[in-house]
């Protein structure tokens, strides 16, 4: 969508994904949410259709398409009713490996990327730490270079899919902050085996998206080979930044997709539910919150696809990607809230699915970057106000 609507090819992509998703109905997602079982069959179907490689280079078996197409894929997944239970189950395959694509050696690319596209390798991405949070340059995990490789020690938190992963993309300090030229120097990125004898992953009981776990990682003398290092030592933060904008756009469109799924349910319910002698959807008190939610979703979506178009054209998209993630998350949340409320008591019942969407909608408001940090960024970089953090 580099114009205001999908091209025919993009429409074919949307339809292809929608058809895969159609095999996984509300019941399926309700059950994954209740049991916490990872949606393996869904991920296998997406891998089988080649969808995990949408944004990976053709040279390694991907489709070589852009962030725009990746966004269409992920939005379609969320919008199908899979929500973040479905989107987060494959999100990391889609853009997680970008640092390897952009900064990895030929050997790293040809060995790891095809296995991620096929779904054989399952990766997790470990950035956030308990003691540094959003202040990434203050992270404490250390990687020390030795003759055999790098020895990594530290803690990570919220690492998604660490129970299932056999690979980890991890950022750690190779030069102590006080010795580095800048606080953001001296961080390095590694792509390594998830060695369970060295990493203890403890799931975090959480509000929603039970089927896709998050973990605290205790990393104790994890030894990774020298060639696990992505790009140059000490440049990891820069590499990380490259992947942040795409990830924000994906969160934005996923959240819009989730909001659309909620609205679809609410509109249907409001047409059918009769109290006071008429469908509740005939009351403006029901109509207006849903109509407003639709307007907000579509506005956020436009900015998200603009950010994607800028990214695909090789232009700077930082402000747009951040603003889209903010707007998309808020619009998705508002749509889910309005949908729960329109269902009355049934909005609180699992059977109607909107309560699950509502819980999942919170994810995009918090991760991968908070609303406050986005506004800090826009205030500083777009409005030219003094840096506040």
């Amino acid at each position: 969508m580099s114009g205001f609507w999908l091209s025919d090819e993009q429409e074919a992509i949307r339809e292809g994904v929608a058809r895969v998703c159609a095999d996984f109905d509300d019941e399926y997602w309700r059950e994954t949410d209740e049991t916490g079982r990872f949606p393996e069959a869904f991920v296998a179907a997406m891998a089988e259709g080649g969808w995990l490689g949408v944004a990976m280079p053709e040279s390694v078996g991907g489709a070589g398409l852009g962030l725009t197409e990746a966004s269409i894929v992920m939005q379609t997944v969320a919008e199908s009713g899979a929500g973040f239970s479905g989107a987060s189950a494959i999100h990391l395959n889609i853009f997680g490996p970008m640092p390897i694509v952009k900064f990895g050696t030929e050997a790293q690319k040809s060995v790891s990327l095809p296995r991620i596209i096929s779904g054989e390798d399952k990766m997790c991405f470990a950035v956030t730490e308990p003691n540094s949070g959003l202040d990434t340059s203050s992270l404490e995990t250390r990687a020390v270079r030795t003759n055999e490789g790098y020895r990594i020690n530290g803690r990570k938190i919220w690492t998604t899919s660490a129970q299932r992963a056999n690979k980890i993309l991890i950022i750690a300090r190779t030069t102590p902050k006080e010795e580095a030229r800048k606080p953001t120097d001296g961080l390095s990125l590694f792509f390594a085996d998830f060695d369970r004898s060295r990493i203890d992953a403890k799931p975090i009981p959480k509000m929603g998206r039970k089927a896709v776990e998050c973990n605290t990682l205790f990393i104790d003398d994890l030894l990774v080979p020298h060639d696990a290092l992505i790009g140059e030592e000490g440049q990891g933060f820069k590499y990380l930044l490259q992947g942040l904008n795409p990830e924000r756009v994906l969160f934005a469109v996923e959240s819009v997709g989730l909001g659309r799924a909620a609205l679809r349910k609410a509109a249907q319910y409001a047409k059918e539910r009769v109290v006071f002698g008429r469908p509740i959807g005939q009351n403006q008190g029901i109509q207006h919150p849903l109509a407003k939610a639709w307007a907000e979703l579509e506005a956020a979506n436009l900015l998200a696809f603009k950010a994607a178009a800028l990214h695909d054209a090789g232009r700077d998209c930082g402000a747009e990607a951040n603003a889209a993630k903010y707007l998309g998350a808020e619009a998705g949340f508002n749509a889910c809230e309005a949908s729960v409320l329109a269902h009355g008591g049934m909005g609180y019942a699992k059977e109607y699915d909107v309560e699950r969407y509502f819980r999942e909608a919170m994810i995009a408001r918090i991760a991968p970057v908070s609303r406050e940090m986005i506004l800090n960024f826009i205030a500083e970089r777009v409005l030219g106000l003094p840096k506040s953090y």
């Binding site: 090819e9 429409e11 074919a12 292809g16 058809r19 080649g50 490689g53 949408v54 053709e58 489709a63």
Partner: protein, 249 residues
């Protein structure tokens, strides 16, 4: 053996069709269009024949507007090898379509034509039969199973009251019914490959056949709205209603 599959771009089966206010036809502006579902089944069958080693090439043909290229791309993404678009903005009648297909077949020399039993827009259910007649080929319509060995096809047909199995000599025209197969989803790698497959663009004039319409549409109207049902208290009331209101007994 080459398989030829005609595919038509039609109003998507999910779209609620609306009649134009002037009653000249249905409203196609801003309406989602897709491949005729029966043609998807035909394409799927042809691709399966190729996968089984029975067919060597699958050629898809569409007669329609420039956008019908996308319909052909969909078929190419399912596994067809190349496409032919006979581009026209006219809404051709079944006979004209059959004549054009006959001309394409003269050039392509396929061993079998597998096509949808009907298009879901006009629901004419005519092109396959007309084409077979024009070619003087055997036809097997409403196929729910096709098996090809050597120069004959064994085709199971869905007929009123059961199944009928025909044996037809090839080349023949076979039209697909709903239960012939379940069409595959296009995978992303195949969508990408389809972009590189060739589509020949032709015009109706290239074939030197008379495509003039012979029918005049007088008026298009919506079907009457279905009346809600009513509950009756007992058999006596039912009989009375059938007699006095419905007038059927």
């Amino acid at each position: 053996m080459k398989v030829l599959v005609p595919v038509k771009r039609v109003i998507d089966y999910n779209v609620k069709v609306r009649v134009k206010p002037d009653q000249t036809g249905v409203d196609l502006a801003n309406v989602k269009m897709s491949m005729n579902p029966f043609d998807e089944i035909g394409t799927e069958e042809a691709v399966r024949l190729k996968e089984k080693g029975v067919a060597t090439e699958v050629v898809v043909v569409s007669i329609g507007p420039a956008q019908a290229q996308e319909t052909l791309r969909t078929a190419l993404a399912m596994g067809a090898d190349r496409g032919i678009l006979i581009q026209t903005d006219a809404d051709l009648e079944p006979l004209a379509v059959a004549k054009l297909l006959k001309a394409v077949i003269a050039e392509e020399q396929p061993g079998v034509v597998v096509m949808g039993k009907q298009a879901i827009d006009g629901d004419n259910n005519a092109v396959g039969q007309m084409l077979a007649a024009l070619l003087d080929w055997p036809q097997a319509t409403f196929a729910s199973k096709i098996e090809i060995s050597g120069q004959t096809a064994s085709v199971t047909r869905e007929v009123d009251g059961g199944l009928q199995t025909l044996s037809v000599a090839l080349p023949a025209v076979i039209t697909a019914d709903l239960r012939l197969n379940e069409p595959r989803y296009a995978s992303l790698p195949n969508i990408m490959k389809a972009k590189k497959k060739p589509i020949d663009i032709k015009s109706t004039g290239d074939y030197g056949v008379d495509v003039a319409n012979r029918l005049t549409v007088v008026k298009v109207t919506e079907p009457p709205k279905r009346q809600g049902g009513a509950k009756v208290a007992d058999v006596a009331e039912l009989v009375s209603k059938l007699k006095n209101e419905a007038g059927v007994i």
